[in-house]
């Protein structure tokens, strides 16, 4: 096939290159300063491995928990004709614009040892959410779930209702229609939402440190470890950062071909 190449106009090309540099330069800086000789030693230290394991576990748990309640919430937002849905949507998307520290503080006031909900819970069961691994999961879910919800809501809205109409005329009740038509058809949207939400949870810092603290081996995730290392061991900070870049890129690449559709 014959193709005609069209040149991009130079003002657009220039600005686009500046935009690209904005992303490339920090990454290059990280690579340039990396202590390649200490790479394996730092990356395999107990502190880093603990943080990595904790990060992978909590971000995965937060994503799964977010999916279990977030997908139904997205379905409700997309399909309900209830009044005041705008307010519900605003509340759900608030964590997208809220500084994560504020989110963490809000969680603390609600679910902390002396929080409105956490207080009675601690008295009755002795269970305290903050400064535990569950606190990390809650903080992660709080900031990450909105990404899942808005992505899935968009996918459900974009689904042509005629498919569900067709399913109904063929005798399928609402549950069967949801299971066999709606969910499979919005699966790519759900996967996109899961990936986005996992990536956000994996990198979460502000809400986690505020709500769950920074206890090595218990609530110190990779981003927290980077923050601590910046004060004490710059080279370790770089190595951990590179580790996070590597994990994120690996996950995105693995999922991209099958699920990650940017259209």
């Amino acid at each position: 096939m014959r193709r005609i190449r069209r040149r991009t106009p130079w003002p657009i090309a220039t600005l686009a290159l500046i935009g690209l540099a904005f992303f490339v330069v920090p990454l290059a800086g990280l690579l340039a300063q990396a202590p390649w000789s200490r790479l394996v030693e730092v990356a395999s230290s107990g502190l880093v491995l603990d943080a990595l394991g904790l990060s992978l576990l909590t971000s995965a748990l937060a994503t799964v928990a977010g999916a279990i309640v977030g997908i139904p919430l997205a379905w409700f937002l997309a399909r309900s004709e209830q009044r005041g849905l705008g307010i519900v949507r605003a509340i759900v998307t608030l964590p997208l614009v809220l500084p994560p520290v504020v989110g963490g503080a809000a969680l603390l006031f609600a679910l902390g040892r002396r929080g409105s909900l956490g207080g009675p819970l601690a008295e009755a069961t002795g269970f305290v959410l903050p400064f535990s691994i569950w606190g990390v999961v809650v903080a992660n879910a709080f900031v990450a779930m909105p990404f899942l919800i808005i992505t899935v809501e968009g996918a459900i809205r974009a689904l042509d209702q005629r498919y569900e109409h067709a399913a109904a005329t063929l005798g399928a009740g609402r549950w069967t229609t949801m299971r066999r038509v709606t969910l499979p058809m919005v699966a790519p949207g759900i996967m996109s939402g899961l990936v986005l939400s996992w990536a956000r949870a994996f990198g979460e810092f502000g809400a986690t440190i505020t709500f769950a603290g920074n206890l090595g081996g218990r609530t110190q995730t990779l981003p927290l470890a980077v923050f601590v290392a910046l004060e004490s061991d710059r080279e370790a900070a770089i190595v951990i950062s590179l580790l996070m870049v590597a994990v994120s890129i690996t996950v995105l690449v693995l999922l991209r071909d099958r699920w990650w559709r940017v259209t």
């Binding site: 042509d160 005629r162 498919y163 109409h165 067709a166 399913a167 109904a168 005329t169 063929l170 005798g171 399928a172 009740g173 069967t176 066999r180 038509v181 499979p184 058809m185």
Partner: protein
């Protein structure tokens, strides 16, 4: 057992009002013919149970499906109405076989039983080899047949076809119209064909309802609509001349009368349509190039708004539409002799398998 009896009253957001009465006997094919925006889709949604009516009643067989006055409403999934949707709405993530099996499973068959039966249905519509193909890879004609098999497989009591041929290109339409006609015959319940194409309604339906602005403006056989349209709109929509004959080399033979047509590619059984306004009337034999010209006599004159419909007799009964001024000028009245001319390019023709 009764067929479908419906009196549909619906008010849509935005103020559109539908008030239409329909009845279809078992074994009867009825077309609902109307332009876009006339309310055809609203009729489909209401009958299928996807949109509750605001007033009136829908009964199918002995069962009341929707009657707001008594609070009766049977939801879509319990109505047993097979719908062929416009553009088919086949599930893109399921194979052709699973699309057809879907309704059978939803009606309680086991997965394997449903698949076996679905396979038989695909054979019936001539798509036995397409079982594992997904809708994205089916041609328009194949998709239409899968949609038909899917709508029929679970044994519905009413068949609704919403513009079943509109998604097809003009070259495949005649052949698939024939396929459709065959399968309509095989279905015993009432059949409702929604269409904006008069030809489709004339060829496939026993009876036609014309719908305009949410109301039925005329009902009758194809001939009733064609020869005696009751509104200017029906005249435009359906009041066209239609001939069935045999085509060969740029001619169409209609019961011994030969029409010249511009399309030389069609041969064998064919349908030709001529719009009444494309027919010219003259007092003397016309000069110039019309390929079709003959003398005939006026049978009937019918004023219709700003125009007059003139029905002409032997050798080829045909309807022309002219202005009242030219009717007066030609001195037209019943039994007056008149010359008729039609350009070959004004006759549309298509093969009728």
């Amino acid at each position: 057992m009764n067929g479908l009896v419906a009196d549909l009253r619906v008010v849509r957001p935005g103020g559109f009002r539908l008030a239409a009465g329909l009845h279809i006997d078992r074994g009867e094919t009825v077309a609902l013919l109307g332009p876009n925006g006339a309310g055809k889709s609203t009729v489909v949604l209401a009958l299928a149970g996807l949109l509750p009516v605001d007033g009136g009643v829908i009964t199918l067989g002995d069962e009341t499906l929707d009657r707001p006055s008594t609070g009766t409403f049977v939801p879509a999934e319990r109505r047993r109405i097979g719908v062929v949707f416009q553009d088919y709405a086949l599930f893109p993530h399921l194979t052709a076989l699973d699309n057809v099996a879907f309704g059978l499973e939803a009606h309680g068959r086991s997965r394997s039983g449903a698949r076996r039966e679905a396979s038989t249905w695909l054979d019936k519509v001539g798509l036995g080899e397409a079982e594992r193909i997904r809708p994205g890879e089916l041609s328009g004609g194949q998709a239409q047949r899968v949609a038909l098999a899917r709508a029929l497989a679970f044994g519905p009591d009413l068949l609704l076809l919403d513009e079943p041929l509109a998604a097809l290109d003009a070259t495949t339409r005649p052949a698939l119209r024939a396929v459709l006609a065959e399968h309509l015959e095989g279905f015993e319940g009432p059949r409702l064909l929604i269409t904006h194409d008069p030809l489709e309604a004339f060829v496939l339906a026993d009876r036609i309802y014309v719908i305009e602005h949410g109301a039925i403006t005329q009902t009758g056989t194809a001939d009733d609509i064609r020869l005696r349209p009751r509104s200017p709109y029906a005249a435009d929509l359906g009041g066209t001349n239609l001939f069935v004959g045999t085509a060969a080399g740029g001619h169409l033979d209609v019961g011994g009368h030969r029409l010249s047509v511009a399309d030389h590619t069609v041969s064998g059984p064919a349908i030709a349509t001529v719009h009444p306004r494309a027919i010219s009337l003259h007092r003397r034999p016309p000069e110039g190039s019309p390929r079709n010209a003959w003398e005939t006599s006026v049978r009937h004159l019918e004023p219709l708004g700003e125009r007059v419909r003139v029905q002409l007799g032997t050798p080829l009964p045909i309807t022309a539409e002219i202005t009242p001024a030219s009717a007066a000028e030609l001195g037209l009245e019943a039994d007056v002799k008149v010359w008729i001319s039609i350009k070959a390019t004004e006759i549309s023709i298509e093969a009728q398998p």
